[in-house]
Symmetry: C2
Subunit: 537 residues, 2 copies
């Protein structure tokens, strides 16, 4: 297996082999080979680069607005962030003020052609054009496209053997293949301190992810602090003083994400996976019966009581106050019917409604009510695939997340054939670990590779890398996520044809070293080294 050491030997691969991603572009002589230093992850849609380099004045580099550009705080913040990254993380420690005898670049001119949007959303545009020549310029219709372009530009810079920061003459036109590119974190099986979440958002921005799916509560704990139902976290969190997310904590996460063009979608999974909810909200869960009487255990949320829906409405109203995005994830996975089956009150209620024995109908009653509540509040919604698998009727704007790993392609085909939009996470449960380069399989799974029409394929919104928390907390979150999630990032951003693991290796290896340099402890792909190893203890 190739190691980094090998790649440093051929800085320039001069040749006529055009990059297969260049379409409709003039192929220049002396095209640089992908994987050379200063390569980009995820691979841009249209990329041409030559061996001509410009020196970059890293110690004083500035992003500047063009005369016609729209301006906003969000972008000015991003300029500062990337100026710091370029100074600290691209320039080598040894010689930042090397005399320059070649053409040098001191600024990147940014042209934002439309007013800034405040928050990223499901209809955000992220395309941009980047040109590095005698002058460097970055253009986009949206602030989100400019953010993606700034990231790309920062990755183009590299340190030559003489410790000169340089950038190759490069032209890029870029846009994402999928609009929904998520990372799911789980703060219920283990609590994640705020800075672990912020670090994850930083790493996401380096990989052009645009959705943080925050599985915030589950059976084990309820760290979300609700203004209307404070007992939920007081009694349901692991520790109601230290293992909680206050409104201010969540606002900080959302603001950090907003500045990086990342949406934050909370998941309040119900009616299953809700044991911890019951601690602070007596009467919410279904009492399970054994031998004709309640046995002290509880099942899913009780769908037969009006009080349940009052509670959900109040809770979601509270959630909507802090989680701005127009989407909420409603969960709906792994609902166990046996407790409902044991409870005589549930049985009677179902009999009265003429749905005796049909527990998926009962589930449908619950889901339909919760969907209605969500819509009333102003949320669109995502559900796990069981909602569909159990035959629950949903509205046509429902987004279905496919997570089961037995033939996810067939499930995507089924969901999209129903006219529903799909998100794929089935192949990308990164909490599942095995020995070796398992990123290969993440990289090679294509969400659109299923039997279906063009209309069906258009309903695939994207996917998510999920890192469930049974065996993950802040001690191992980042090395377990990165760079394995980077493989998912490229699958979701880059062209379908960018799927060769051997070609990807040197770029992904650079990307992981880049993340280390930027403070993310991304674990190794294989044998080798980074110019700057991880030293932050």
């Amino acid at each position: 297996m190739k190691s980094v050491a090998l790649f440093s030997l051929f800085l320039f691969c001069v040749g006529a082999n055009a990059n297969s991603q260049i379409k409709g572009e003039k192929v220049e002589i002396n095209v640089r080979e992908l994987g050379s230093p200063g390569s980009v992850w995820p691979q841009p849609q249209h990329y041409s680069s030559t061996t001509q380099t410009y020196a970059v004045v890293a110690e004083a580099f500035q992003f500047v607005y063009s005369s016609t550009s729209h301006k906003c705080d969000l972008l000015t913040e991003a300029f500062k962030r990337y100026e710091t990254l370029i100074y600290n993380n691209v320039a080598t420690i040894k010689l930042k003020y090397f005399p320059r005898d070649v053409a040098s670049i001191k600024t990147l001119e940014v042209d934002l052609m439309s007013p800034c949007e405040d928050y990223p959303s499901d209809h955000m545009k992220e395309s941009y054009a980047l040109d590095v020549a005698d002058k460097a310029s970055l253009t986009s219709d949206t602030v989100w496209g400019i953010l993606r372009g700034l990231e790309t530009f920062s990755q183009l810079l590299w340190a030559s053997d003489s410790n000169q920061v340089v950038v190759n003459k490069t032209n890029i036109i870029d846009y994402p293949r999928y609009a929904f590119r998520g990372v799911m974190i789980d703060t219920a099986r283990h609590y994640l301190p705020l800075n672990a979440i912020l670090q994850t958002l930083d790493a996401m921005s380096y990989n052009k992810f645009n959705v943080l799916h925050w599985h915030i509560v589950d059976d084990q704990s309820f760290p979300y602090v609700s203004d209307v139902y404070p007992d939920l976290s007081i009694k349901g969190a692991y520790d109601d003083r230290t293992h909680i997310y206050t409104r201010e904590d969540i606002a900080a996460v959302i603001e950090f994400a907003r500045l990086r063009g990342i949406r934050v979608i909370p998941e309040f999974d119900s009616p299953g996976h809700s044991t911890s909810w019951g601690k602070g909200q007596p009467g919410l869960l279904t009492p399970c019966y054994s031998n004709g009487k309640p046995d002290g255990t509880f099942g899913p949320i009780n769908p037969t009581l009006n009080s349940t829906y009052t509670f959900v409405k109040n809770l979601f109203g509270d959630v909507k106050q802090v989680f701005h995005d127009n989407y909420i994830h409603l969960g709906g996975d792994e609902v166990q019917f046996n407790c409902w089956q044991s409870n005589p009150n549930i049985t009677k209620w179902m009999s009265d409604k003429n749905i005796t024995g049909d527990y998926s109908k009962l589930e449908q009653v619950y889901i339909q009510n919760v969907i209605d509540i969500s819509e009333t509040i102003g949320y669109s919604y995502i559900v796990w695939q069981e909602v569909i698998d159990n035959g629950v009727k949903v509205q046509s704007d429902t987004v279905v997340e496919v997570w089961k790993n037995n033939h996810p392609d067939q499930e995507v085909a089924k969901v999209t054939a129903m006219g529903l939009r799909a998100i794929v996470s089935a192949p990308w449960y990164l909490n599942i670990i095995s020995y070796g380069q398992d990123w290969h399989k993440y990289y090679q799974y294509d969400p659109s590779n299923f039997n279906g029409t063009a209309e069906q394929k258009a309903l695939v919104m994207g996917g998510e890398a999920c890192i469930w928390g049974e065996y993950v907390d802040a001690t191992n979150l980042s090395p377990r996520l990165w760079p394995r999630a980077s493989a998912v990032a490229e699958r979701l951003w880059s062209a379908e044809s960018v799927n060769d693991v051997d070609a990807a290796y040197p770029r992904l290896d650079q990307q992981r070293c880049r993340m280390i340099r930027r403070g993310i402890p991304a674990q190794p792909l294989y044998i080798g080294f980074c110019p700057h190893e991880w030293k932050n203890y």
Copy 2:
């Protein structure tokens, strides 16, 4: 599965169930159940504890020498270290000066009954006696026993619900089951910065490991800086400025280890696994032949040249200057014979020596010479099992490390039947990962569980947790090692009968939270939480 939250519910389990480890001790009424807060990992040999607690004056706690005790800098350093740990890591952040209305303990009186030894060694003694009652005292014949007892004492302390640091009335008599309890690190597949090694030593001391086996060089890189052969690292390291271990670096590691009672044994693996050696020492490796001429590739070290042994002698002499321990690991694993077979000069030499075709004899020539050199220099030595499996004749004081995972018990039986001492690492390759609680299998493997006589069993010196570096560097070393290596630590220290994973779980869970509090990012065992989560980014 039980989570930490559960355990916090029964702080004291008052009952008549005696700890099965208490042998020959009076069993007191109100014995504390193992796994209660303030439990010890690895489990002491003889342990009795009651529900009676003493307040500990954590903010001013001091270790003091008894009037008859020997004293030395090493121990005084340890006192400071553990005073800091008790202050920073046991006392809670909330209330360190809680009014005390119970008997309190301000000092632990240490009685070292023999003069301090300077360095830990293969014949070090580590037994100690610890008594916490109205007065707290720690006694040992050796400074190493005192170090182990200090660690045990620090673990006995816990924070009560009222944030009072307390310790239970406890009596411990303790000693290790095995004399050799190692952790192997690999700095050749990936370079480990010095602080990653020091952090590993810290964590080792918290788990009573006593040997760092430093697999310092291999095919991929040669970070060891040799005074006599500087080209070895100049040409063989990943980067000869940043990815090396100087004599000062190594001295710092050895001193850090010495202060914690940990030996440092270097491995210079040969004649295989030596590709990187050849870069700085032309003529050392065997040129491989294809179609009758050298094909530019190289095989194992050439055992037929006198220059080889001059080199080894000079290199090992240099190594002995910095690595104090009286043991060196000579490697000897995975020697491929095909390159030797291809080389006509090797063939002729073997013919001249009448060993034509017998490549294990050729290997034996090399190993025997290297063993002789090691002995001349003053090193005893360890070899990997292939040296024995290939039929190489070795001297009776050879230590054999069993690493192959196909019937390691049979290999240990074979090695010890030959009268050789054995170290077991076969079941404990912690770089191999899988989903779930794989510590169970590490915990339940017993190195002495093989068909053999009592004499054979006495030849099992202990074992090692190995973390090979193909997929491990400083980004993921600590969470991957800990607490999985802690399971190995208890297997090697505690009584054979301490092998119930369910009983171990709450103690191991405490141990992992303790490590986090002390700055080691030990990953979770399963769902749950620590009072203080990992926050050091």
